[in-house]
Symmetry: C2
Subunit: 345 residues, 2 copies
């Protein structure tokens, strides 16, 4: 006979049903702050508006088999990441989170403990970032686990960061480093044993699974009105540079030698005889922020970003040019970066 805790581990969401899941979810969340007039449990949520600020809204989803695999990634990390990628969009606007909605399509064979862990990963990040879970939706999925998240935030109208404000002569800045998330995904895909990895490789997996939205840096730079444009790196550095260039009607020149690449990604590229700069340009899901900054606002930008970043590297990696396109300068040569292809279809 199996001991009770083993039996409980075997519970699937089909066994407890929607009401059972809602009870578990509600047990995990704290009472919301006073700005939440109606939270979970009515037809919709109601929030007090932020006085004098714009409402910032974004939605993004993680789909099993496209963005993650349940065999590779713990449910806790899936819940964290689904919220983090949305918060990263707020960070890129210079917005501060106010609330989050979670819509889950759940395969019937999902263990209840995975549901609990997913909610825990979500709610832990939600509480830490001031984005209380105020509503959502649970339904069955006949296929993959789908985690759809919407976040609402606030930003002052005149301080909001857009993609379209870059001008020739602006400098290009990056938070943190890049390439780590893609290297981490590759390690998971290869079936690497986490225990046997070194710290740099483990950090890559951590980056892939639990990206940190750069909310404080985004908000501080917006407040200081120190950047002319901003975007977060969901589909890689080359893509972000292309998007800012296209939205602003300018070009971007990246300095290969200046791009900070995660040590684990450098090691992985070296071991495979690949070019780590190319890998860093193409690798997605680092969720760092890319800013363009007028040279006369450089000090204001660096002060705001470095104070808010608390040790996070803030690096100048290139500049904005009049000629459209994205270019990489390396050892005196300048090469065009082909427009990135989107891998999601």
């Amino acid at each position: 006979m199996r001991p009770p805790h083993t039996a409980k581990r075997g519970l699937l969401i089909a066994d407890v049903g929607e009401q059972g899941l809602l009870v578990r979810l509600r047990a995990r969340i704290k009472p919301p702050p006073p700005s939440v007039i109606i939270g979970i449990g009515d037809d919709a949520a109601a929030l007090m508006p932020a006085r004098g600020a714009l409402e910032i809204l974004t939605t993004d989803s993680l789909v099993e088999g496209v963005h993650f695999r349940r065999e590779w990634t713990a449910a806790q990390a899936i819940g964290h990441k689904a919220l983090a990628v949305n918060l990263s969009d707020l960070a890129a606007m210079g917005a501060t989170p106010r609330a989050a909605l979670l819509s889950l399509a759940l395969p019937s064979n999902l263990p209840v403990e995975d549901f609990d862990a997913l909610i825990d990963g979500f709610v832990t990040l939600a509480e830490r970032t001031g984005a209380p879970l105020v509503g959502g939706n649970l339904t069955r999925s006949p296929g993959p686990l789908v985690v759809d998240v919407t976040v609402i935030g606030e930003a002052a109208a005149r301080k909001i960061l857009r993609r379209s404000g870059a001008r020739p002569g602006d400098e290009l800045y990056l938070t943190g480093d890049v390439g780590g998330a893609a290297a981490g995904l590759e390690l998971l895909a290869r079936g690497a044993h986490r225990e046997s990895l070194d710290a740099a490789a483990k950090a890559c997996i951590e980056r892939h699974e639990r990206p940190a939205p750069r909310l404080k840096v985004g908000a501080a730079v917006a407040r200081a009105r120190a950047a002319s444009a901003a975007m977060d790196l969901s589909d890689g550095l080359a893509d972000a540079a292309t998007q800012i260039g296209s939205a602003s009607g300018v070009g971007i020149v990246l300095e290969a030698a200046s791009i900070p690449i995660s040590p684990g990604a450098v090691a992985q590229a070296a071991a495979q005889g690949r070019d780590s700069v190319q890998a860093a340009l193409a690798g997605g899901e680092d969720y760092e922020l890319l800013f363009t900054v007028r040279p006369r606002r450089r000090s204001a930008f660096l002060n705001a970003a470095r104070r808010a970043g608390r040790g996070l590297a803030i690096t100048c990696i290139g500049r904005v040019t009049a000629e459209p396109g994205v270019w990489v300068r390396r050892e005196g040569r300048q090469e065009a970066v082909p427009p990135p292809s989107f891998g999601h279809f």
Copy 2:
């Protein structure tokens, strides 16, 4: 050789990719109203807040194989319904729509014309109801088509309709009629040929596929402060009565003879020798509104609801009691309605 338009009909979303889909989507939407400061195309959308009103937020999804089948339902109707079910939640709060977000997980084999039709169904309803599409997300699905929608609306803090305000002695009112959507779904499941159906049966399919959110009635009743509680009928009349009763700490007695049942649902139940009242209680997805009203507010309620409803029936179907539970009175007898079971897991 196939003529060009036939070749085009064969295009799948995998052929045009994310950028191609975005181009098609943007071509379909009109410039947003001035309250939309940033629409589709940046990291997030930005809206002017509604002065003096609460922000109302809700999210709901339609999952292929759970809520619809592509073989049965046109893509246009899927787009309509995904937005309608969310707007219905706003209606139940007495809120007015302000904007919508659309997150799609798309199977690679989805025809581009189905994508276009889905967007068209969504955007047509969005434009008609003042809920412009301001953002969203497109990703691939390795399984079902998943349509996840978030809407934001506004409602005055003191006028908002909640589930929890019902008191013993209140009267219970319903908009329109019930049972039609479930009867329509059954017709589709049976493979009924639409052309061979009578008008009442066709209306049931229409109700299942293209529910009409009762936004004007909800907003008018809220504005008049004429109802003590409200909810929309997504999971059926018995479920809505249970939810209002539970949230308010009261019971509900329904008068069987007063419940307006869609003529097509009555005919279908009669043909099958089933009880049409039971079918109407259990049948979901009618998206009518259920209100509780203090007797002294009856005139104010009926005036507001009927004026806004423009011919929509507003019917008293029961009353609120102190004793908890949901009951149906029929031919002098009163029977308990068992708590509805949720079919989504």
